[in-house]
Amino acid sequence: MTSIAIPPGMPQYDDVPRYDVAKVRADFPILDREVNGHRLVYLDSANTSHKPRQVLDVLGEHYAMHNANVSRSVHTLGTEATEAYEGARAKIAAFINAPSVDEVVFTKNSTEAINIVAYAFSNASLRPDADPRFRLGPGDEVVISEMEHHSNIVPWQLLCERTGATLRWFPVTDQGRLDESGLQDLVTERTKIVSLVHMSNILGTVNATSRITARVREVGALLLLDCSQSVPHMPMDVVDHDADFVVFTGHKMCGPTGIGVLWGRGELLAAMPPVLGGGSMIETVTMARSTFAAPPARFEAGTPPIAEAVALGAAVDYLAGIGMRAVQWHEKELTAYALDALATVPGLRIFGPTVPVGRGGTISFALGDIHPHDVGQVLDSLGVQVRVGHHCAKPVCTRFGVPAMTRASFYLYTTTGEIDALVAGLEQVRKVFE
């Protein structure tokens, strides 16, 4: 073999950040278990990720040692809990390069984060004195895309129903890319908000957002990025992305369920009316009316998921310790490997980009005419856990003319050996059904 030297001064092969996958796997207790008599092969991290011991320990320790309500006691435990909760907020702010800690609002998940923004629009639309950027009515438009998760479709449909605004969307190309050709006509002076998925949970597509951001700025609309699938898998810099809102969900990034994040530009959050009312979100309350706390508290009514937030802080510590560039590179290599390997399976059709560029490690496919339920069931009998169904993105299935898809998705602990197990399993599926 001849080797070609990369000229000095250029990025070298070894410049790529790497980590020891076997060592990372040892942090995840569940990866040791067996399923149906086989070693677990977990290829469903886009659905939810596993949790390392470092996160599980923090979760347990919080309840065992520091349990108290936050922001409402002077006692020692209350102070410890509050410090841990606010400390997690600071960690998350740093993880996404938020200019201010107060721009990080804890929510239950991505779905709730999107709904908070949608309902803020709704509430503002009922109040003539509200910030005009959040007021919606007939003639105004909300723009999404055909590749959204249901949680970035339904809240906007409901908002449009309530306000009389019109919902519009970017189509998807045959290659599974966002079709931006109609950008000028789609995003106009009528547009109030564009809410777009950063990485599709079904096609794996990573959307390049800069052209859209530029257009959104030109027409004076707002931009929300659904980063549920990107924040767990690649470095995220909210300033660099120049978005107005970014949402993501803890359970897909090594954190527990029940905790998510709404990041918003400080000035915008401050202009937003509250959505849920209750304890902790007020400034003062009289029997007739109330005034409200500044963000983020304004959007965190009631006792929050404290231990979950603290554990999410541990999760971003864990991820940052490995390095998000390294995680991203690991998954890029896996994706390239998987795309090549899946191409060898007869009758397999990939939905979405078939090159490992502008896409992440989430690959949906059809195996001949075999229904995904059947594919998933046979794979499960071999210990291989994939997701089957419409992946909460039914319009994408409709777009590609199928009722359901089979999806394999990777994370920092996934190995090429697991992709081999998938390919071998698909052979088994074909034997049963063909």
Binding site: P372, Q377, V378, P403, A404, V432
Partner: protein, 158 residues
Amino acid sequence: MQLESLYQEIILDHYKHPHGRGLRDPDATGARVAEAHHVNPTCGDEVTVRVATDGEVLHDVSYDGMGCSISQASASVLHELLVGRGAGDAFRVHEAFVELMSGRGQVTPDEDVLGDGVAFAGVARYPARVKCALLPWMAFKDAAARAGVGVSPTEVEA
């Protein structure tokens, strides 16, 4: 878990060579015809079942749909078991099938009543797939009710 208990030969056979597939218009004049379309929202399986009856006998039970092997084979078995039966008799079969599927693998099926339907006994042990097997049977129940033939009350737990 034994995959063979789920994918019995009989089930794969009905899936690969479905019996009576396709929605049909009734031959018998004066038959009442009604259909029902059911979907499984979690996986997108769909089936339409059409019942043609004079109120006494089910002259035809035809169907069309798309879905996994379990739901499609189940529709094929439904057709085979119920066509030409008296309505009362048909609902006894229906009841037996629903009972089998709700039994979490603890119910021993009666082959005299269920015919090829006994092959679904293994499916009852896979909670995620019980809905697939029941989909055509639930659509049948609705279609029959719309065609005016009595329905025995069925409770589905799965």
